[in-house]
């Protein structure tokens, strides 16, 4: 079964500092990769996606992620964070099931806490 690992459950960082949230997935062919963000008391919002093509993808709010097939990673980065980036970030992988259809598997989430 496919698995998604987010190594850090919490990442505290000061405002305007760079941040990297790590995500690794178990190897599989034809994966689509996503980062979702969940602000307090809100639903999941798509931050960015990798479907094919360039391994560096840019998303909303200044975030970007790099797909590294050899390391099976899809780490999320932002060069300078704001207080408003405080949220839970989920990495997700879309893989083909035994039935031939795709399903979305989530990591356990990383709480980004931006401090002034």
């Amino acid at each position: 079964a496919q698995s998604v690992t987010q190594l850090d459950s919490q990442v505290p960082v000061f405002e305007e500092a760079p941040v990297e949230l790590r995500c690794n997935y178990s190897s599989s062919v034809s994966v689509y990769l996503f980062w979702y963000v969940q602000y307090p008391n809100q639903g999941l919002q798509l931050l960015l996606k990798y479907l094919s093509g360039s391994t560096l993808v840019k998303g909303i709010n200044g975030f970007e992620a790099e797909f590294n097939k050899s390391q099976t990673s899809f780490h999320l980065r932002k060069p300078s964070v704001h207080i408003s980036d405080t949220a839970e970030y989920f990495c997700a992988v879309s893989v083909v099931m035994d039935t031939g259809r795709r399903a979305l598997t989530f990591g356990s989430g990383t709480r980004l806490q931006v401090q002034p």
């Binding site: 689509y32 996503f34 979702y36 809100q42 639903g43 999941l44 919002q45 798509l46 996606k49 479907l51 094919s52 989920f90 997700a92 879309s94 099931m97 039935t99 259809r101 795709r102 399903a103 979305l104 598997t105 989530f106 990591g107 356990s108 989430g109």
Partner: protein, 117 residues
């Protein structure tokens, strides 16, 4: 921008009662999903639905759960006899397609927090 809407935002129920969680997917989407997130845990897949039938379901989605698309817009999740451990945030999602990459993206609603007392 089109969005997935869920009602109610918070549902409180007694153990053993039936609950129905409602979702209105994005209008041109054909695939629908339910996920749940127990407090402090990861988001877990429950079920996917296409063409008026279940496409995939997880081990969590047992006989207590059912899904339905009663009309052209709503997509519901019913829990027949709620248990304490059903307390969670339930997310609905929809996508245009299941397989074509650009159409495979799932868009999520804000969730319904279910509290079973």
């Amino acid at each position: 921008e089109p969005e997935v809407t869920q009602t109610p935002s918070h549902q409180v129920t007694q153990m053993g009662q039936e609950v129905i969680l409602r979702c209105v997917p994005i209008s041109n989407h054909l695939y629908f999903y339910w996920y749940r997130q127990i407090l402090g845990q990861k988001v877990e897949f429950l079920v996917s639905f296409y063409n008026n039938e279940i496409s995939e379901k997880s081990e969590i989605f047992d006989d207590q759960f059912s899904v339905e698309r009663p009309d052209g817009s709503n997509f519901t999740l019913k829990i027949r006899s709620t248990k304490l451990e059903d307390s969670a945030m339930y997310f609905c999602a929809s996508s245009e397609s299941l397989d074509r990459p650009a159409k495979n993206i799932q868009y999520f609603g804000a969730g319904t927090r279910l509290s079973v007392l």
